[in-house]
Symmetry: C2
Subunit: 226 residues, 2 copies
């Protein structure tokens, strides 16, 4: 009676439309980002997706499992894009260390790009923070695995900024993630603050802005104390 909700990570295998699952994921991504995981009811979600109430439990097993599947889809895609850009930058440097600005671009561009090119994964960052306290334990474990991917960037940055102690590199990378985060969080506040002057419309311009800012922060002089 029950369908295996775990195994079916593959796509075209079952000949079936595989449509409903994607529709649900897209709607969940949108709503979870707009509100909160626990603030979105399955009735609201399924209605927005145009599917039956029971569809979520049938295809994913539970609401929690839906969140995990959603997070997995987003994380895999984002990390893959980041890793690719970083690898390309390293190859461009011919075995040497790429300049800070290019490492930053590899870190930041995929997230910005996805946030523009629409729906899927668009608001990935926004629920990372909440998943930590709100979501199921399995989601939290996945977040920790996420850290592994950031390590590559920490390493690359440490090599490009040899005058900085290691822990300072970690801190500044952390701040960089915060800046990235701000692209999905509180954009409404920025729009209000600027009287509509600032908006997420021109991808290139926004990307350049973020990269300028983050690069400057990473390259800031180190006024050490402790």
């Amino acid at each position: 009676m029950k369908a295996g909700a775990d195994i079916a990570t593959d796509m075209e295998t079952t000949g079936g439309r595989q449509d409903t699952k994607e529709v649900i994921l897209d709607a969940a991504e949108k709503l979870f980002a707009e509100k909160t995981y626990s603030a979105v009811s399955l009735r609201e979600l399924t209605q927005a997706a145009g599917v039956n109430l029971a569809a979520v439990n049938y295809h994913f097993g539970s609401k929690d499992a839906l969140l995990i599947a959603l997070f997995r889809r987003g994380a895999i895609e984002l990390n893959r894009a980041r890793a690719r850009l970083l690898r390309e930058a390293e190859e461009r440097a011919g075995g040497g260390t790429p300049p800070v600005r290019e490492i930053v671009a590899a870190l930041v561009l995929p997230a910005i790009r996805y946030s523009f090119t629409s729906t899927r994964l668009a608001l990935y960052n926004q629920f990372v923070a909440f998943a930590r306290g709100d979501g199921p334990a399995e989601a939290r474990e996945m977040l920790d695995k996420e850290v592994g991917h950031l390590q590559r960037f920490a390493l690359s940055l440490a090599r490009a900024l040899p005058h900085l102690p290691q822990h300072e590199v970690y801190w500044r990378l952390h701040f960089a993630m915060g800046v990235q985060h701000s692209l999905y969080t509180d954009m409404k506040r920025l729009e209000t603050l600027s009287g509509g002057l600032c908006q997420l419309d021109d991808l290139e311009a926004v990307a350049a802005r973020v990269i300028d800012y983050v690069t400057a922060g990473l390259e800031a002089p180190y006024t050490a104390k402790g």
Copy 2:
């Protein structure tokens, strides 16, 4: 039967202990930040606070009203501290424009300080983002009023960075808020990433770090496109 939950903003007036309200606010602040507004039930909250289930509705009127009261308490305190530091910096500049670094310090220090000195308001920033989509409409309106306080900083920064177009100042101020935000969000990830090397322990060191980073970002060269 019902007590006025609106008027009693004063403190020592009623002779009564005024204890329960504060206990509830403190517990709510902690839990709402750890999880999410809608993920914390009143039963969980009142049990953590050690008060009766009905206490929230009696003292605040509703769960929504509790959130608003909580936000108000935090926002007032934080904005007051920021405004005072900015005013002092401006006085120190003798009517002129304070250096960027001092404006940044005025913006950033209060939040960092509160995050160390404990409980009250400690996690203020963390629920700002969520309140926008999750919380009641009244909370969202308060967030918009919040913007007014940031305008003072935008103005001051624009004067200190006259070569930047106005909208760029807004963007960079927005990023600065994101960096600040990262102090409350994803700290667990930073600890994991750094293998425990980076932690929120030394206030002065963390403050210097944040100010360095944000100042450098604000003063970054402007590579304009659009």
